[in-house]
Symmetry: C2
Subunit: 574 residues, 2 copies
C-alpha cells in the first residue's frame, strides 16, 4: 500500500493533462447547476431546512475529490439516503426542530466513522451479498415511497411523512379533495416540462428551467398568497465549523440507522462508480478505498453541518456524459454551490415546493425498475420471488427490514438449492470419449456393469446425506450387475470434513457390495483433501483417472492405459 | 404412500420369520435389563423421581414398535434429552415439585406434536444442516455437562444443577472437601467395575452388576445411615392414563425447549438408526416417518406420564449386537420394564445414587469425541474451529445456543468460501487433449492468444463481482495479445439471475476489447438458463464447445471440427 492508494489525488493532480480541462469545467458547471435545486429538494425529503442540502453538496464533494478512486462520482445529498435520514431521525425528534437537525448531522458523522472502519477492515466485499433482484426490488420500493411522500407538496395537502406505502396512500386518498388547485397545476406542469425536456432536449438542465419558471410564476402572480407553499428564506453564507453534538443515548438509538446508511450509501456509490468505470481505462475503483473516501466525506462534512451524503446515480451519469475527466469537475461543482451559498440563496425565497416535488418525483420514478422483473419472469422465477418480497417488505415495513429480508432470503435460497443439487447419470456419446446426462440425451450408451454419476454441487455437510441416499438408490436400481461406480468429480469444487466422512462411508458401502469406487476429473483442492485425509490411499491410488473414458477403459481392459497421467490424477499440495 | 409406509408394523409382523425369534428374545431381555438402571439414572439427570424413567421406557417403546422404520432402534429415556429437560424446566419450576414433573410431561407432549408436524410437512431434511463438526462438538460438550453434573452424587456433596460447565466446576471444587468418603468409595469402585467389565466382558450387563453390588453393600452394612444417598421408595404399578396439564403460559415458555428437544431427539435417533441400517438390507430408515413415529411415541407416552424420549445410542447398539431382527425385541424389553414396574420397584429402595452416577459418567464419557477433532486437525482446520466454538458455547452458555451457533457458523463458512472460490488458469497437458491448472502443473502449455479460465463454484450473486474482477485482472495481465477467452464451465452447477447479468457484462467487456468469449463443458441446467435468457444467442451459438480442446482447435483452424456435437453443446430443456 503506497501513498497514492490512500490519497488518489496524488495520482491524478500531478499528471493532469491540459486537454482534460474543457471537459472538467463544463461538467463541473453542469453538475453544480443541477445540484442546487437537487440539494434543496433532497433536504426537503430528509425533513431538513433547504440550506442543509446545499451544505451537504459542498464539503463532502471536496473531501471525496481528495480520497476517492472514481473520477466521475458526484458525492452529495441523494434521495434514498435522505429518506432513510427522515424515517430514522423522526423516531427521536420532531421534524423541523433544532434537535432533528442536530441528530441528522450526528448521523452523518456516525455513518462516516462506520464507513471508514469498514474500509480499513476491508469489509467492502459485504456489498456483494446484495443480489440484483434485491437491489431492484429495494430501489423500486424506495422510489415509490420517496415519490409518494412528495404528493403532499405536489397537491398542497397536509399529510404526515411515513415510510410505509399503505399509510401514505391511505392518507393521500383521504385528503385529496382538500388539494390546492394552483399548487397542483404548478406541480403537474412542472412534471410535464421535466419529462418533455428529458426526452427531447437531454442536454438542457431541466430542473433549472422549472425552478426559474416556478420562481417567476409565484413572484409575478403573488401565488404564495393563494396557498402555494414556498421554500421561504434560506440563510446566506458558507457553513461554519461546528462540532456535532454527541450524546451517548442518541448515538445508541441512531446506530442501526447509521449502519443501514453506511451500507446503502456505499452500495449506491459503488454501483454507479463501477458502471462508469467500465468506460474508462485510466483508473480503477477500489471498493475499500471508496468506503474510506465516502466515510471521510461524511465525517468531515458533519463538522460543517452536512447530513449523510453519498455518490448519486443521476448526477454521476450527467458528470460523465458532460466529459468530466478528473475530480477537478467535482471541485468546480463545489464552487458553484459555494457561490450560490454566498450570493444566491435569497433568490429561492419564492420557489414553490410543488416544483421541487415535481423534480423529485420525475427523478425517482425513473428509478422504478420494470426491466429486471420482466427478465426474471422468463428465466429466473425464484429470483422474481426474492425481488417481490424485498419490494413489498421495503415498501410496507421499512427500508432496513426490506434489505435484510432480501439478503437472508437470497442466502437461504442459495443454501436450499445446494442441499438438493442436480445429479446426473452419465452415458457415452456414441463414437466419442464424451459422457453426458442420459436424461437429456437419449442416445447415450449405458454400460450394464458401470454406474457413472455426476453430482452438480460442492459436496458439503448439508448435502452429503442426499448424495449418499441417491447413490444407494441408483445402486439398488442397477442391481447386482453393478461392479464399478465412477464418480465424475468435475463438479466437486471442494470437500469439507463432512464430505470426506461421507465419501469414506460411500466407499465402505460399495466395497461391502463388491462394487469398486473410482474418481475422475478431481480438481486440485479436492485432491489435496483426499490425500491429506488418507482417503485416496484407502480407495486405491490407481482408481483416480483423468477422464471418465480412462476409467471405463480401465474397467474393460483391467489396465491403466498409461501411467504417465499419475502425476496429474494424484497430485496434491501440502 | 401406502398403509405399510404409515404403519411399518404391517410390513414386518405378517412376514415374521421363525428364525428371527431367538435373536429378538435375547436382545429384548438384554436391553430390558439394561434399561431399568438406565431409566432410573436418566430420570435423575432430568431432575425427576426414578419411576418416571421407567414409565418413559414403557409406552414410547411400544408405540415406536408400531410406527418406526428402524427395526433395532431402542426408544426410551436418553441422557442428552434428560439434561435438556432439566435445564429447560428448571427455569419454570423448582426441581422435585409436582409442577416440575407436570411440565416435563407436557414437554414430551409438545415435543411429540412438533415432531409429528415436522414429519408430515417433510422437514426431516433440516437435520442435514447439522454437520459432523457441530455434532461432535455438541456431543462432547453435552457429555461433559451431564458427567460433571453427576459429581454431586459421586462425591455426596450438595451442589446445584447447572448447564454451564464453569459454574459446575467452580461449585464442585469449592465443595469437594465436604465429600462423603463412603459415597465416593462406592462411586469410584463402581466406575472401575464398569470400565473393567466393558473392556474384558463385553456381554455382561455391567450396569446390572454394579446395581446389585451397590444394593447389597448398602443393605448389608446399613451404609444409608452413614450419609450415603439412596434412591428411596419407588412406587409400584404401571402408569395410569392421565391428561397432561395444559396451560397457555407454560406452553409458550416451554416452546423453545420443545423445539430443541424435537430436533436433538430426532438427530440422535436418526443418526444411530442410519448407522445400524447400513448393516441390514431388509428395511430402510425413512427420516420423515421416523419423525412421525418418535412424535407419536412422545405424544401418546405423555398421556402415561412419560417425559421426552428418543432412540438412544448405546441401547440401540446393544440391541443390534444381541441380534434383534424386528420390533418384537422392543416389545419384549417393554415387557421387562412392565414386570419391573409391577413387582420389582421396592428392590431399588437401597440403591445408592453414587452407583447411578457412576453408570451415567461411564456412559457419557464414552461419548467424548477425540477422534473427529484429531482428524480435522490434519485436514480441515476450519471445521475444527467450528467444532471448538460449538463445544465451548454448548458447555459454557447453553445447549440450544451451542447448536444454533454451530449451524450458523457452518452456513456462514459455506457462504464465505463460495464468495471467493478457487479459480484456475488452464494450460494444455503436452501431447494430450487435457487441460489443467498451470499453478499446479508447471509443464502445461499456455497459448499466448488464448486465456482458459475455470471458476470453481456455482456462479451466484455473492461471487459474480469476484469473478468479473478476476477475469479483468487476467485480461490486463495477458495484454493486447489476448483474442480468445474460454470459460471452462464444468464447475458452474447452476446460474442465478445475477450470474446471467454478470456473464452478459463480461461478454460486453471483452467484446469491446476484441476478445471473443467461448464456453465449454456447460451442464444441462446451465445451458437451460443461457438459452432462456437469450445469452447463448447473444454470444453466438457456435462458441459453445464440448471440450476445451474443441474450442482451442476452433480458434486455431477457424472451423468447428464437426457439427455433430451441436445437439450436445447447445441442448436445453424448456
Amino acid at each position: 500500500m503506497n501513498l497514492k492508494s490512500i490519497l488518489p489525488i496524488l495520482d491524478w493532480l500531478p499528471n493532469y493533462k491540459k486537454d482534460w480541462l474543457k471537459g472538467d469545467i463544463s461538467a463541473g458547471i453542469t453538475v453544480g447547476v443541477m445540484l442546487v435545486p437537487q440539494g434543496i429538494a433532497y433536504a426537503m425529503i430528509a425533513g431538513l431546512p433547504p440550506i442543509y442540502g446545499l451544505y451537504t453538496a459542498l464539503i463532502p464533494q471536496i473531501i471525496y475529490a481528495i480520497f476517492g478512486t472514481s473520477r466521475q462520482l458526484s458525492v452529495g445529498p441523494v434521495a434514498m439516503d435522505s429518506l432513510i435520514v427522515a424515517s430514522g431521525v423522526a423516531a427521536l425528534a420532531e421534524i423541523g426542530t433544532q434537535n432533528f437537525i442536530e441528530f441528522a448531522i450526528l448521523l452523518a458523522f456516525m455513518m462516516g466513522v462506520l464507513q471508514v472502519a469498514f474500509g480499513v477492515f476491508r469489509l467492502g466485499f459485504l456489498v456483494n451479498f446484495l443480489s440484483r433482484p434485491v437491489i431492484s426490488g429495494f430501489t423500486s420500493a424506495a422510489a415509490l415511497i420517496i415519490g409518494i411522500n412528495q404528493f403532499k407538496h405536489l397537491f398542497g395537502i397536509d399529510i404526515g411523512r411515513s415510510n410505509k406505502i399503505q399509510v401514505l396512500l391511505k392518507d393521500t386518498f383521504s385528503q385529496i379533495q382538500d388539494s390546492n388547485l394552483i399548487t397542483t397545476t404548478i406541480g403537474i406542469i412542472s412534471i410535464i416540462i421535466l419529462v418533455y425536456l428529458k426526452k427531447k432536449f437531454k442536454k438542457t438542465p431541466a430542473a433549472l428551467v422549472v425552478v426559474v419558471l416556478g420562481l417567476l410564476a409565484v413572484k409575478l402572480f403573488n401565488l404564495d398568497q393563494f396557498g402555494v407553499q414556498i421554500v421561504g428564506s434560506v440563510p446566506e453564507g458558507l457553513p461554519s465549523f461546528k462540532m456535532p453534538s454527541f450524546s451517548k443515548e442518541i448515538i445508541i438509538n441512531l446506530a442501526p440507522v447509521a449502519l443501514t446508511l453506511s451500507f446503502v450509501g456505499f452500495l449506491e456509490a459503488v454501483s454507479v462508480a463501477r458502471a462508469i468505470e467500465t468506460k474508462h481505462t485510466e483508473y480503477k475503483v477500489v471498493p475499500n478505498q471508496e468506503l474510506v473516501a465516502l466515510g471521510l466525506s461524511n465525517m468531515i462534512g458533519s463538522f460543517f453541518q452536512s447530513y449523510p451524503a453519498t455518490g448519486g446515480f443521476s448526477r454521476t451519469a450527467v458528470n460523465d456524459q458532460a466529459n468530466a475527466k478528473t475530480h477537478l469537475a467535482s471541485l468546480i461543482s463545489a464552487s458553484v454551490i459555494g457561490l450560490t451559498l454566498l450570493f444566491l440563496t435569497p433568490v429561492f425565497y419564492y420557489l414553490p415546493k410543488a416544483v421541487l416535488a415535481a423534480i423529485i418525483i420525475v427523478a425517482v420514478f425513473g428509478l422504478l425498475d420494470f426491466r429486471v422483473p420482466k427478465q426474471l419472469l422468463t428465466y429466473a422465477k425464484r429470483d422474481l420471488v426474492i425481488l417481490n418480497i424485498t419490494l413489498i417488505i421495503t415498501a410496507m415495513v421499512g427500508i432496513t427490514e426490506g434489505i435484510i429480508s432480501g439478503v437472508l432470503l437470497s442466502l437461504g435460497m442459495l443454501i436450499y438449492k445446494s442441499t438438493k443439487p442436480h445429479i446426473a447419470i452419465l452415458g457415452n456419446v456414441p463414437n466419442t470419449h464424451f459422457y453426458r446426462n442420459r436424461k437429456r440425451f437419449k442416445d447415450v450408451i449405458i454400460h450394464e456393469n458401470i454406474l457413472i454419476v455426476r453430482f452438480d454441487a460442492q459436496l458439503h455437510f448439508a448435502n452429503t446425506s442426499y448424495f449418499k441416499n441417491k447413490l444407494q438408490e441408483f445402486c439398488r436400481y442397477k442391481g447386482s450387475k453393478l461392479k464399478f461406480l465412477i464418480i465424475d468429480g468435475e463438479s466437486f469444487n471442494s470437500l469439507d470434513s463432512s464430505a470426506l466422512f461421507a465419501l469414506n462411508e460411500i466407499y465402505t458401502y460399495f466395497k461391502d457390495r463388491q462394487v469398486q469406487l473410482a474418481f475422475t476429473g478431481l480438481k486440485g483442492p479436492v485432491r489435496d483433501k483426499m490425500v491429506k485425509s488418507g482417503l485416496m490411499k484407502k480407495i486405491g491410488e490407481e482408481y483416480f483417472f483423468m477422464s471418465v473414458q480412462d476409467a471405463v477403459d480401465y474397467y474393460e481392459t483391467g489396465l491403466k492405459e498409461d501411467t504417465k497421467f499419475y502425476k496429474y490424477t494424484n497430485q496434491a499440495n501440502e
